[in-house]
Subunit: 271 residues, 2 copies
């Protein structure tokens, strides 16, 4: 029987889930049944949540594990009375931090994934629209406003990474896909030359790229193994010759690619 | 002097930052100087990180606070020897979880924000491309493949929320912007009729929308207060008449909107 896991929060629950899931990756061989309960910010909602937890306890005949990021003390105290192992993230560290920082915690309901200030919100949304307007080389207009310009051949992850940078960090990321025409010319495409310092290249192992393209357009020239190998060879030559920093993303998640680019390009996050 | 805060991790550092920042929101009146140090996965990188921490300790004449999510024991032990308050996330909870779950933790370096399995990766990327291909009513083709279709007047957050759902949960979200033409017709646009059950509406207070549009296209008809009020009145009438569930996003972040939609529409996350 899989162990019941609950993520319970007075906000989105993103913090509780991030932390809880990170811990559970250390017990990967065990089966879990995970339930998210966001926006539990009053006693009525909490009692409803506790009913679900108690029901899991009865059905499973084992204690559920509850990862909790609720700020209000009375709600947290009520939660500890149920038949579950409650892992309370704020409880665990707040005392220690109060001691170090020399003042009491505010204990206001967690707005960590809330709206924040209007300026941050605006930066973020405009970064998303910037990424969309400058996706896939649609236009090189306003490239001077880019914080970074991702380059690479088709399907190396430029678009998801641009959007991730925009949504999570308010970074304005444009992207430009290299095509065969660009390689024929040698050198950097003229349109990119003025923005040389902002370029960051992505590359990927040909086998993996071939597989990705094959799923998208089976048996096309685009997914032909030799075509893919040639493109990758040409693009890596270009990166080296033009001294564009680049990253092999074959074994990387979107988060890892974004974090590496921020680190290697020394980007400032805006949020 | 702002307190130095370090987020140190053997992976992206997203877990360490999520935990640390959530805790620091409880001390909002204090100034902090935050530094992220991702991919610290061997002793050489750790010694380099410790040099930065020790330097902050000397400059600030106060102990820095270090939020740590490193798995390797020898690295963590070395870290605790530096002049800083180390908040070690795995240390704090792993013992308790081992006890509850009845087996030892794997202690393999945190791949929580790593690539995961290839299928998850593919789902996520194809959801991002789906959101892009079905952004802003470009096409209603393939609407049957949508998990959800966000509707609303221009600039109510449909696009960022669609992309967030795709990137973070692998949910295929299309979006369709209502325009004056749609309101003249009365009823639901014909193209949406077959997908009625997948529609989810966004609305926003007219003042806030007017402000957002004014920033985008100053003094246009689009940003005219009366035009904005009329659109919002018409769209909310439409939602009520057609029984489309909807959400007022005026005071909500992208994360809160996404979480609420998943909850209210009972969407299945795919990752």
């Amino acid at each position: 029987m899989p162990r019941s896991i609950f993520f319970i929060s007075d906000g989105t629950g993103i913090t509780a889930e991030t932390l809880g899931r990170a811990l559970l990756t250390q017990f990967q061989d065990l089966p879990f049944k995970q339930v998210s309960m966001p926006f539990v910010n009053d006693m009525e909602k909490l009692e409803w949540a506790i009913k679900r937890i108690e029901r899991a306890h009865e059905t499973d005949a084992e204690q559920p594990v509850v990862f909790c990021t609720i700020i209000q003390r009375e709600l947290r105290e009520r939660l500890t009375q149920c038949h579950a192992v409650v892992i309370d993230f704020f409880e665990a560290f707040t005392g220690r931090l109060e001691q170090v920082l020399g003042r009491p915690a505010a204990h206001v309901a967690g707005r960590f994934h809330g709206m924040g200030n209007a300026q941050d919100y605006g930066e973020r949304i405009s970064a998303v629209h910037y990424a969309l307007d400058h996706d896939d080389g649609v236009t090189t207009r306003d490239f001077e406003k880019a914080d970074i310009i991702l380059v690479g051949v088709s399907r190396t992850g430029k678009t998801p990474v641009s959007l991730y940078l925009a949504l999570n960090h308010g970074i304005q990321a444009a992207n430009y896909p290299f095509s065969d025409d660009d390689f024929v010319q040698g050198g950097l495409p003229d349109r990119l030359e003025p923005f040389r310092a902002k370029l960051f290249g992505l590359t990927i192992q040909p086998d993996r790229l071939q597989q990705i393209r094959q799923e998208r357009r089976p048996n096309s020239r685009y997914a032909d193994p030799e075509q893919v190998r040639n493109e990758i060879r040409a693009v890596e030559q270009l990166y080296r010759r033009e001294r564009i920093p680049f990253l092999d993303v074959t074994y990387m998640s979107v988060e890892e690619i974004a974090t590496s680019i921020i680190q290697q390009a020394g980007l400032q996050r805006r949020l």
